[in-house]
Symmetry: C2
Subunit: 475 residues, 2 copies
């Protein structure tokens, strides 16, 4: 029961320790950056996927799955795209005992796998919009230090790919994706910045990129996902056209929306504390852990009651773990706090007598829960827990972002900085040097708090055409 490193001063060490001690991922696999989804971690991933699927399907998107291997010839068709990914893909060059005629790329993302087939699926305006998504693993030959969930070589990935009749409709799809992500983020209790990336940092091949950034400790941010407008940048090389109502052949406009297991890293990083992980209830592998408090006199009755309570809550649709192992209750409390379970129920002789169980949520708040109608009381306790978790995350988010008006404020900044930027790339790079990080870009959606509007570019001092921008140190 070693103590965790300090989250504030040693964030990365703290993060790695929580992921390991909570048994969310096993990184002892024989290939660097390819980790094992443990039983516990997989449950969190399944719940995460469930939220993503629910929200994207609510917008009319349908699931598909394309192959993991992409012929080198298809992969090379969009020039900017291949330039962006060339150095970070795994190559399959041999099948059985012979060399392949055309080497295959293990998908780093699926544009080049999907678009040749989109060219077959889309014939007429009646086939549009085409909104499909897949949840698959993607592969990147990372040379940087890998971190569980956050930077790995095999990535559990969500990607939506759509075809629209024109640029405007594609813009509307981007909006719809932003709204879907807002709903997902609410389930994760994650506040974030929605930011249009500068030209030099957009996705390889995109017209523009909007990313979601989560402020973490210090000036650090973690990109949670992104939405891209491709215009017809891919539909031209891949020949995705349709016959419009007026009989003309036109190229589709495309969008994509990407998310990944990184969201799990974000949830751990944002909500965790000195005692371990803290999961919002929709993502928690178990929402409730039941710990029987046995004594010599009441052991049998308490054990039976604990099993009944577990069954009752499961019937009500709750994900429940009954910890009836041999360890002392204190050791169990410690373990399930580390694991981030939202609500612990203590069941002992006293509680049964009183007809009231002791609930303790992962934020340390004690709640008496009446034994009758327990499922309702538990549902209420979980909702209250989620709300408070969100409230605390919002407060931390507000704290983590601060305006700056001088480049000198950026060096060693302990916060993400809101500043004025004239829009010139040279000034953007000056800002990046000053903060030793990146110009994230300009807010795409209103920030959830007020701040003084910057009057001048923090780098060159120009006052015309100045816009709000964000700078930070992306993880």
């Amino acid at each position: 029961m070693a103590e965790l490193p300090d989250k504030k001063t040693a964030f990365i060490d703290w993060y790695l320790a929580v992921v390991e001690e909570a048994d969310l991922s096993d990184k002892r696999y024989g290939v660097k950056g390819m980790n094992v989804w443990t039983r516990y971690g997989f449950r969190a991933r399944r719940n995460l996927d469930h939220v993503m699927v629910r929200e994207i399907e609510a917008t009319g998107s349908e699931a598909v799955e394309f192959p993991a291997l992409i012929p080198a010839t298809e992969f090379a068709k969009e020039k900017e795209h291949i330039k962006g990914f060339d150095a970070q893909v795994f190559w399959v060059t041999r099948g059985g005992l012979t060399d392949l005629d055309v080497p295959l790329v293990l998908r780093p993302t699926s544009e080049t796998a999907i678009y040749p087939i989109f060219a077959l699926w889309v014939r007429s305006h009646r086939d549009l919009p085409l909104n499909v998504y897949q949840i698959v693993n993607t592969f990147r030959y990372e040379t940087k230090t890998t971190r569980p969930f956050v930077r790995v070589r095999e990535i559990h990935f969500f990607e939506e790919h759509t075809c629209q009749v024109d640029e405007e409709t594609a813009t509307a799809r981007v909006r719809s994706n932003l709204a879907a992500f807002r709903r997902m983020a609410r389930s994760f209790a994650l506040p974030y910045l929605s930011v249009r990336r500068p030209e030099w940092d957009k996705f390889a091949g995109a017209h523009y990129t909007i990313a979601f950034d989560l402020p973490l400790a210090g000036a650090r941010t973690l990109q949670l996902g992104s939405v891209h407008h491709y215009r017809d940048n891919f539909s031209r090389p891949y020949g995705i056209r349709y016959e419009a109502a007026d009989g003309e052949e036109r190229y589709v406009h495309q969008t994509t929306f990407g998310l990944s297991e990184r969201l799990l890293g974000a949830i751990v990083g944002a909500h965790g504390d000195a005692r371990g992980a803290v999961f919002p209830s929709e993502v928690a592998p178990f929402e409730v852990v039941i710990v029987p408090i046995l004594s010599a006199a009441s052991g049998e009755a308490v054990a039976r009651a604990a099993r009944e309570i577990a069954d009752e809550l499961r019937q009500a649709g709750r994900r429940v773990r009954l910890d009836d192992g041999d360890d002392r209750p204190g050791a169990k409390f410690y373990r399930w706090e580390l694991a981030g379970v939202p609500l612990r129920l203590e069941v002992g002789a006293r509680e049964l007598e009183r007809g009231e169980l002791t609930g303790v949520d992962r934020l340390g708040r004690k709640l008496p829960l009446a034994r009758v109608r327990l499922a309702e009381a538990v549902a209420g306790a979980l909702t209250a827990f989620d709300l408070e978790l969100g409230r605390r995350a919002d407060a931390a988010f507000r704290e983590a972002v601060a305006p700056a008006t001088q480049l000198s404020e950026l060096a060693g900044s302990e916060r993400v900085r809101l500043l004025g930027w004239c829009g010139e790339e040279a000034c953007g790079h000056a800002i990046e040097r000053a903060i030793d990080g990146a110009l994230l870009g300009t807010p795409e959606e209103p920030l959830p708090f007020a701040f003084p509007e910057p009057k001048a570019c923090i780098a060159c001092g120009r006052t015309d055409g100045v816009r709000v921008a964000l700078a930070a140190q992306p993880m």
Copy 2:
């Protein structure tokens, strides 16, 4: 609307046509044998997975996921296993712009990925049994002709891997897997033969293999899945040992249970008919399709009623497709029969007046369904449909298997053959030559029908130690 090839005389052509016309899989992807899961096909796959997950988790197995890439060094540790797979794996040899020091195998199955980690997870008898499963894609460099779902190069795969304290407990796990598969197969309305494979046909590295074979047209069978007892064949090279209660170090005994998307091919192949696919309701992408029968006078009211009915059934948890497109009703009937939807609801002015809808199930049976309490009536209709589908499949299954007492009966057999076998490998091969196929093995579970017990080996005529065996032409 071309007619489908004849199922009886041109089974493969019929199968390929149904898969394509029902839009279950798109095989126009640029790598042979790697197909695209279409929107419709993916829905069937999701339902299939749901059944597998439900039944395996009912036995206490938990989901995990191991990486897709396996270092060549780990892959080579179990000698029989590597011999079995060496010629059919894809090799990753390059990462980014450089050659990898240790080439990586794209998993053809995951023993060699999982067992080095099992060696870390298993320490004590308290860690056992360890029952985990994963649903992932596996990759095989098939050189034979590929077929959607049945023989592909990227396979949607279910694999359970377990560690047990000893051989007997592992045998009990095998039994539990056989029972789980029996429950799954009931959901798929698939009868099958449960067969212990002969020594020369067991899984590479296994102590023994039990496979599930589905008889199809002619003497053809399709292997639906398999369960393997490994004894300590893998735990020794991979060092998976535990401290027993008595303080001794022992090697675990292991089992695996494998299923795949092939089950979807089996469902299409077993249940489909001259009009297309037929899905049992648990697997059907849509359980119900609603076709509004519009007329000039009643168009608006009917369209509204059809939407209300769709909503009502969805609220009741049904998977529903409302086909409100512009085609004539006849064209819609044709399309959804091809697609295998279990139940069609026709909604017209007459039906609404009468308060009774016309239901037609995919076996062509007409049923009046009262508008009040429609959800209940639909649930009843689907149950009746599933039962009848199962009854027909059982009858076809019974028809497809026949005893044989002479080798000469095997040549050109139109049925799977039940015969006597002395157990000698030479006789087994003689049988295989005679039927131009395989000796599937000996039944592991009682056959669901009576047959005359064979008295002698069909090949050598010996009468002592003779056992029942099955011979067929596996697809």
